[in-house]
């Protein structure tokens, strides 16, 4: 009886104990540094290869559209991949257009672009343009696909998109050589695929939080997405491809540790469960005899 009650108490472990272990598994690897091997998955490599391809075939006339469809909540996961991709685009001298479907993402996008353009010495208007936020999501995408200039007559600062080298030749979404949506929820990859890619047939990729990645696998197989970068692990892989280690690669230590701790807890939970079941059966058998 006593054995069962001990097992039961372990079985119903106070959730705060689990929280504590998860907290430590995330905190400690930040303090103790060690290297982990990083191998780029096929879906991540496809994005890298496509940007290389745009650079090769289009050179400086190549234009890529990045849609920042996330806010601060998922910044930790999505910003590292955004930085790695922008670094890649800037390194290859490809023109960059940035926009966003999330109003709360405007400030972080501005900060990120200022930081990256300063690092790579890129000029606003000639190398990159920030269009800002417009409401509408699905409707906005359709509008951009039909008539880009009517959807974005001006950039985020109210200057005409006809005046920038980067945007003056863009008429519809199909004029972009590549579109990547960094998505953390509603108003992101799915809307881009359904209302953009499948209607206007441009090449596009997605970058999303780890929990959402599995949502988009069907689009990969059907060819509607040519690549997908999922979560911090995807960011780390892209950083490794570009050769620019950042918070993605740094984050792999705590993420790996947290996964291991979680697995240990799941296994322990199962051991308690099976022990409990065994003891209960034994007790019942004892009662019969």
């Amino acid at each position: 009886m006593k054995k069962i009650s001990i097992v039961r108490s372990l079985f119903n472990l106070d959730r705060r104990i689990i929280y504590l272990f998860i907290f430590l598994s995330i905190l400690l690897p930040f303090l103790v540094k060690f290297d982990l091997p990083i191998k780029a998955a096929k879906n991540v490599r496809n994005v890298y290869d496509k940007i290389e391809d745009v650079a090769k075939t289009k050179g400086e006339r190549g234009t890529i559209l990045l849609s920042f469809d996330f806010d601060n909540a998922s910044r930790a996961e999505l910003e590292p991949m955004a930085k790695a991709i922008i670094a890649h685009i800037f390194k290859k001298n490809i023109r960059l257009v940035v926009m966003g479907h999330w109003l709360n993402g405007v400030e972080l996008t501005k900060t990120l672009l200022n930081e990256m353009s300063a690092e790579f010495k890129k000029k606003y208007g000639d190398n990159y343009v920030y269009l800002g936020y417009r409401p509408g999501v699905q409707i906005l995408i359709v509008n951009m696909g039909k008539d880009f200039k009517s959807a974005f007559q001006t950039d985020s600062q109210g200057k005409s998109t006809n005046d920038f080298l980067v945007t003056k030749n863009i008429k519809t979404l199909s004029d972009f050589d590549y579109v990547i949506s960094f998505s953390a929820g509603s108003g992101g990859i799915e809307e881009w695929v359904v209302y953009g890619q499948s209607k206007f047939h441009f090449t596009m990729a997605g970058a999303c939080t780890a929990v959402m990645a599995a949502d988009y696998f069907p689009f990969l197989q059907s060819g509607q997405l040519n690549g997908l970068i999922g979560g911090l692990a995807g960011a780390a892989q892209y950083e490794a491809l570009v050769g620019r280690p950042g918070s993605g690669i740094d984050g792999m230590r705590p993420q790996s540790m947290a996964h291991i701790v979680l697995i240990i807890f799941i296994l322990l939970g199962n051991i308690y469960y099976l022990t409990d079941k065994y003891l209960k059966n034994k007790k019942q058998d004892g009662g019969v005899h």
Partner: protein, 457 residues
């Protein structure tokens, strides 16, 4: 005033709903459904020295703002040779046969074939024998007065896009790279002047399969709805535990004297899961009004809130309890994902509802909401068509409606024959899809792709 709002709402919000939800979900899903089988790889292509059989045509299935330049693959070329990146073509275009001609751009290897544009030319194997290049616009030098351009400065240019219903004339120049340092080319301009007129198309022929499937599904679903109305007793719907438990959950709230909380997902009123959730809310509100319990509904979108208010109010009126309806209980929590989660969690922790219903499309906030609900000890019933969130709801809620069960809920709860008929029609559609998938898999595995291609976009 409310009627006026309602009218505006219906006009402007049902338009996107029906505009986008139906057509886009339909076409995109058919695209996905249809492209599940493997496609053939495009051959490695060999460019030619002089393009043979040049043709200029209006781009099919477009808005009349592009032309296609086609030429034949060189039959004498060795198909196993690597891509020849020494050869490129320069295209020039004019609105008059005698010019002036303006540059369109350079076509460099690897060239695309007609097969790479299936939306325009289909999937015929012969299409691999023709190269294709899309002409969308050209570069025109700006008019300048003498002395305005300084020496050494590049003249400014404007990019011009092709217009509909205009005849264009195109010439091709062949460039062969003979040395890289310094870069030298052999040039040869072809004498032939090609011409074509841009024309907008009234029907996208590449979507014929989509139209036929749309007609098929519409007819089948409508026929079953009609049939169900005439034979209301001939319909069976399997048991959905989550929906059966709804009465118990509401009953529990009534007995405990606590409220029931309905949490809407994170999509707008034009999305199907939100509409499905709204249908369920109507049924729940009616039961709650009958049981005389309290109902609170949280929203992420102000328009969804307006519609919810109307739905709940109508339900209370129908239940004969208009006095029990409190407009402030149908509240807007926050317009941001995690602020919304925080606000609703706050309500759960402070007011400890006896029953919590999560219906609609959820993202990462699903676990935050349902785990907090589980901690407060409420009976939780969830329903979502968001794949990734289903596991979280299953682990934290007492009952979870998966995928299409969410859509079927309204019919299940009301038992109205015409709604049940719709579900029956849907099942026939599903059988048709399964048949196509099985046949497609068999034929493609046997090397016959034509069948699958019938369903490709």
């Amino acid at each position: 005033m409310r009627n006026l709002f309602y009218l505006i709402f219906n006009f402007f919000l049902l338009t996107p709903c029906l505009l986008f939800v139906f057509t886009s979900v339909f076409t995109s899903v058919m695209t996905m459904t249809i492209t599940t089988t493997a496609r053939g790889e495009v051959d490695v292509l060999v460019p030619l020295t002089v393009p043979e059989g040049l043709q200029l045509i209006d781009k099919p299935n477009d808005n009349g703002q592009a032309l296609m330049l086609l030429w034949k693959k060189n039959s004498s070329a060795n198909s196993s040779a690597p891509e020849n990146d020494k050869i490129s073509y320069e295209i020039i275009i004019a609105e008059n046969q005698n010019g002036p001609f303006f540059p369109v751009g350079k076509i460099i290897a690897p060239f695309k074939t007609k097969y790479d544009f299936p939306q325009l030319f289909g999937y015929a194997k012969e299409n691999k024998e023709y190269y294709a290049f899309e002409i969308k616009g050209y570069t025109k030098p700006n008019e300048v007065k003498a002395g305005e351009v300084k020496e050494g400065e590049k003249p400014k240019t404007t990019d011009v896009l092709l217009s509909p219903n205009v005849t264009y004339y195109v010439k091709v120049k062949v460039l062969e790279e003979i040395s890289t340092t310094p870069l030298k080319f052999n040039e040869k301009e072809l004498n032939e002047v090609l011409s074509a007129t841009t024309k907008g198309n009234w029907f996208a022929t590449n979507k014929t399969n989509s139209v036929l499937i749309l007609i098929f599904l519409t007819v089948v679903i409508m026929l079953y709805i009609y049939w169900a109305q005439r034979n209301p007793h001939g319909l069976f719907i399997r048991k959905i535990a989550g929906l059966d438990a709804m009465d118990d959950a509401i009953g529990r709230a009534t007995e405990m004297g606590k409220m029931a909380l309905f949490v809407h997902g994170l999509r707008s009123v034009s999305d199907v899961p939100t509409i499905a959730a709204m249908n369920i809310l109507g049924r729940i509100a009616r039961k709650i009004a009958e049981f005389d319990a309290e109902l609170k509904v949280s929203h992420w979108d102000p328009i969804v809130q307006q519609v919810s208010q109307e739905t709940v109010k109508e339900a209370y009126i129908e239940a004969g309890r208009p006095d029990a309806y409190k407009e402030e209980n149908i509240f807007f929590a926050a317009g941001d994902q995690f602020s919304y989660a925080a606000a609703v969690e706050g309500v759960m922790v402070r007011e400890k509802p006896a029953a919590i219903f999560h219906f609609g499309y959820f993202y990462a906030e699903s676990l935050l909401l349902s785990e907090t609900g589980a901690q407060t000890g409420a009976i939780q019933i969830a329903g979502t068509d968001a794949f990734t969130q289903i596991p979280f709801f299953i682990t934290t809620c007492d009952y979870t409606l998966i995928g299409e069960e969410l859509y079927a809920a309204s019919a299940y709860l009301s038992r109205e024959p015409k709604l049940l008929g719709g579900i029956k029609g849907q099942d026939v559609g599903k059988v048709a899809i399964i048949a196509v998938l099985i046949l497609g898999t068999i034929f493609t595995t046997c090397g016959w792709e034509r069948f699958s291609q019938l369903f490709w976009p």
